[in-house]
């Protein structure tokens, strides 16, 4: 009945076109909704970039001094005598913690991924996958708490150092935090290697280890590199856990037992009580722009690398 009416209405307009009934409108509406959903990520990321740029702009055209900002360790934004905005020590802090985190996470996540993808099967495999995903679900403030309350005294006692809140503590915590996502992506990359490669290698008389080492890993290397880069991105952007575990001390580290301070942690600790629009506030947003650009580049490179493996 309804169909009949609408059929009459649409008849002769475009026979190939859907009928202009209720379903057609619903269909169109859902299409629009899905489209909005699809582009929303782009809209948000542009919005965020515009926002942090706007807030940091005043500093970039005013107090900003390229040489001081990137090459001076003097971060003294509230000094009574002379305010200085040098983030070298903060960059060194973030880089050292992320670097150590990768040293922890790469063997850990690659080992797990190889075991899950190549050696385990059935229930073991499912159980391991779920456990790794659970590890990713632990909130970062809980990781930070573990660093503060558990790792701190252990590091002091084990290594006989004055403070346990340092590069080592934050590096281990961050490594464990980055490992699950790296494991997942590395495992995907290993699984993407066609089985015929393995079969061919085994037919040549290669042992299981030789198959993995000589055939599977080289074939999956782009995906594995992508996994590592995403882990690096995670390390750069992590805030809460590093705020709690690094000791939050402006310092260019010379050993893993030195306390440091991360870029993200500086923003988190200081932004809340800074007068909006002041040079200090704008300088913090400039750090935000810097972090945004860095993580954007890392993620982009990771994406291109992973894409490279799919084509090849």
């Amino acid at each position: 009945m309804e169909n009949n009416t609408s059929a009459k209405v649409s008849a002769g307009i475009d026979p190939g076109f859907d009928q202009l009934n209720r379903d057609w409108y619903i269909d169109k509406a859902v299409q629009v909704l899905v489209f909005i959903g699809g582009i929303s990520a782009i809209v948000f990321i542009i919005g965020i970039f515009v926002f942090i740029s706007k807030e940091g702009y005043g500093f970039l055209v005013g107090e900003f001094n390229f040489k001081e900002f990137f090459f001076s360790p003097n971060w003294r934004p509230t000094s009574e005598s002379k305010e200085t905005f040098g983030i070298l020590a903060l960059i060194a802090g973030t880089a050292s913690v992320t670097g150590l985190a990768m040293l922890v996470a790469i063997p850990f996540s690659l080992g797990t991924a190889i075991f899950i993808a190549e050696f385990s099967s059935g229930k073991t495999r499912e159980f391991l996958k779920i456990t790794v995903e659970l590890l990713a679900a632990i909130p970062s403030v809980v990781w930070g708490f573990i660093g503060l309350a558990i790792m701190n005294p252990i590091i002091i006692q084990t290594f006989n150092v004055p403070v346990g809140l340092n590069v080592l503590n934050a590096g281990i915590i961050l490594g464990l935090m980055a490992a699950p996502i790296m494991t997942s992506i590395a495992e995907d990359a290993l699984k993407a290697v066609p089985d015929r490669y393995r079969e061919a290698a085994e037919a040549m008389g290669a042992t299981r280890w030789q198959v993995i080492y000589k055939v599977v890993l080289p074939a999956a290397k782009n995906g594995l590199l992508g996994a590592v880069l995403l882990g690096v991105g995670r390390g750069f952007g992590e805030t809460m856990a590093v705020l709690m575990a690094t000791g939050h001390s402006i310092n260019i580290p010379t050993s893993v037992f030195d306390s440091v301070r991360a870029l993200t942690a500086t923003i988190a600790a200081e932004l809340g009580e800074t007068a909006a629009g002041s040079p200090h506030y704008q300088a913090l947003f400039t750090i935000g722009i810097f972090l945004f650009v860095i993580t954007f580049i890392i993620n982009l490179v990771a994406d291109l690398v992973v894409r490279g493996v799919r084509k090849g």
Binding site: P73, R76, T78, E80, P162, L165, H248, I250, E270, E273
Partner: protein, 293 residues
């Protein structure tokens, strides 16, 4: 009677009750109170206790920092601003430009205690020694520079614990101890008064400063001398009150003009024996001698 009718009756009753409540609350007054995080617990306790004194006056308390509170007073959005530092000339001028005239009330004192690990043999510091430990260019890097050896402290390195650079406590310590010089780079900047005490508790090499209210049994409070070689004073509510402790800071509340009406009554109550006993219970020094029973 259908469910619908019952609902109607219920909602009518509820509406009438609401109207009655609003009608009864015609003389209900709200005091907006905002500012210092140091004072926020005390302000909250005052607001709660005042409910029993004047049920018709509601005090809405929020934190956010001394600067936030003063900014809100300048904008005229709060009745009382809490601050753990005095208003700056710049802020005063801004307030006057906005037609506000902030009046300062000292509502209590906070002794800034210097915390060390219980194993640390140091008992007292002079302000000059603290400045050598904390200030940029200061010469004390190791506990041996101070003539002591701390058991359990590797290399005898002084682990200097400070606060994040926009805290009121940080600003007061810089002014009172460092004479507004910069802090050393490499201090561990904790994000709360309690975090400082926690870190010192677990770290034999550490020295930190924080409000007296945050003291625990697991840390040692240093005796502070205004001059090297001079007599030192232990931090306590009593020594903060009589002014003999060198690093005690006043805690302020700011109102717009002399407070009158219900705001004036509230301020008077805060300064009364009852109000001052509450600040004493929270670990700060009252402005006057009080008798809390």
């Amino acid at each position: 009677m259908t469910t619908r009718n019952r609902l109607l009756v219920l909602s009518t009753a509820a509406t009438m009750a609401l109207l009655a409540a609003c009608g009864g609350g015609e003389q209900r007054q709200v005091i907006q109170n905002k500012g210092s995080d140091t004072l926020v617990n005390v302000a909250q306790a005052w607001a709660e206790a005042y409910q029993d004194v004047h049920p018709t006056v509601v005090v809405a308390v929020s934190g956010g920092g001394s600067g936030t509170g003063i900014a809100a007073l300048i904008n005229g959005t709060v009745d009382i601003a809490n601050a753990s530092r005095a208003i700056k000339d710049k802020e005063l001028k801004l307030a006057q430009d906005n037609g506000q005239s902030p009046i300062q009330h000292v509502v209590g004192y906070d002794a800034l205690a210097v915390y060390i690990h219980p194993d640390n043999p140091m008992d007292s510091f002079s302000l000059e020694q603290l400045a050598e430990i904390y200030a940029d260019g200061g010469s004390y890097l190791s506990w041996t520079d101070l003539g002591v050896e701390v058991p359990g402290c590797q290399d005898q390195e002084i682990v200097v614990v400070s606060r994040q650079n926009n805290s009121g406590t940080y600003a007061y310590f810089r002014e009172a101890v460092l004479g507004d010089a910069d802090f050393k780079l490499g201090t561990r900047d904790m994000h709360g008064s309690k975090d400082v005490v926690d870190l010192v508790e677990n770290t034999p090499c550490a020295v930190g400063y924080s409000g007296l209210a945050y003291a625990t049994e697991h840390v040692k409070l240093a005796c502070i001398a205004a001059e090297t070689g001079g007599e030192c004073t232990n931090p306590s509510v009593a020594t903060a009150l009589d002014g003999s402790y060198p690093i005690a800071r006043p805690l302020f509340m700011y109102t717009n003009g002399e407070p009158t009406g219900y705001i004036g009554e509230y301020m008077n109550w805060i300064m009364s024996n009852e109000g001052q006993c509450i600040i004493l219970n929270k670990g700060y020094a009252p402005v006057t001698e009080v008798d809390c029973g």
